[in-house]
Symmetry: C2
């Protein structure tokens, strides 16, 4: 379709609200006639820039307690299982590189959904190769190609560049949705509004 | 009505998203058959407890820039005017005391709406007595009684106790909605969900 609007979906594999969006964004984007561009990045360097060495959900205990309870309610509403990953946050560096290695072949979204499910519905450790391999297989990707590609300098550089771009766009949390005209929408709660904005072509 | 469910609406006069909720909560609560209990408190002491000396919207510039843009979008959607108060955040100590002085007479909600409008739609300084007096008059309250009451030890103690209670409930931001069974819902985005939870009597 010509001129189908695009919405960038910036997500972080360690982020609980990115998990919520990853499982519901594609169907809503289809309904809205919007193409979703899946853009994994790392929040760690962005948090470090404001003096945080871990997730704000760990730094601020009341906020963290609230978030896990809220996530229980949201997953119940969405009909999905929640199992809290341990440790939290997960180390998402390799996961993000693997996701970016699938950009040309097109399996990034399916791999990302599978890996988010492993992390937050099954409590798996996404830094483990076996967990990455299982998610790749679910996405129809070949682990024998994807894992070496994820370790290549090219893909490592790609993740650095994406994270730098996120920072320069003013992104400070995940998920963040960015429209073609540069509007930022932060949080799973803003997904519908972001799609509406993108679809209106504003 | 017997056993009409109650939802506590914890708000801070300096908080932009409390402003959004204050202007729309009562109509939605009526629709849901829920009684809203207006509970002004101070976020300052709670922020101080986690080492913050000002609003997180000032501490984290990207978050602050995003918040003001988001607030522009939300007020446009809600059909209300936005004028950014200067300075931000406003000193809300006296405002919260005045609001609590109206609890028995029942003008706390009307006064709070008028003062939020002065702060965020007209850019007024809510620490100024003239601004408080105008909001009291709009709410049908007598400034000659309300202001001395707000300065009384009893009302000062009431605000301290409310803020302590908020902290002990695990409140870390505003607005926060708390149901009779102790569920917390943080943020203007969760107002509808909080009302639904309260109405279901869960």
């Amino acid at each position: 379709m010509p001129n189908r609007p695009v919405l960038d979906f910036w997500y972080e594999f360690a982020s609980p609200y990115s998990f919520l969006s990853a499982l519901r964004a594609e169907a809503l984007a289809d309904e809205a006639g919007v193409t979703l561009r899946w853009r994994p990045f790392l929040l760690g360097p962005i948090f470090a820039g404001q003096g945080w060495t871990t997730s704000p959900f760990n730094l601020f205990p009341n906020k963290g307690r609230y978030m896990w309870r809220d996530l229980e309610r949201q997953t119940t509403r969405n009909g999905i299982r929640l199992m809290r990953p341990n440790p939290f946050p997960q180390n998402s560096l390799v996961a993000a590189r693997v996701a970016l290695a699938g950009r040309e072949a097109g399996w990034t979204p399916a791999f990302s959904r599978a890996l988010f499910t492993a992390a937050f519905s099954e409590g798996r450790n996404i830094a483990e190769e076996a967990v990455l391999v299982a998610a790749l297989r679910q996405a129809g990707a070949d682990p024998g190609q994807a894992l070496p590609a994820a370790r290549s300098e090219e893909v490592k550089g790609r993740l650095k560049a994406e994270t730098e771009l996120a920072k320069s766009l003013g992104i400070f949390g995940a998920p963040t949705f960015v429209t073609g005209d540069g509007e930022l929408f932060w949080g799973d709660d803003r997904l519908e509004e972001a799609l509406g904005w993108a679809a209106d072509g504003r």
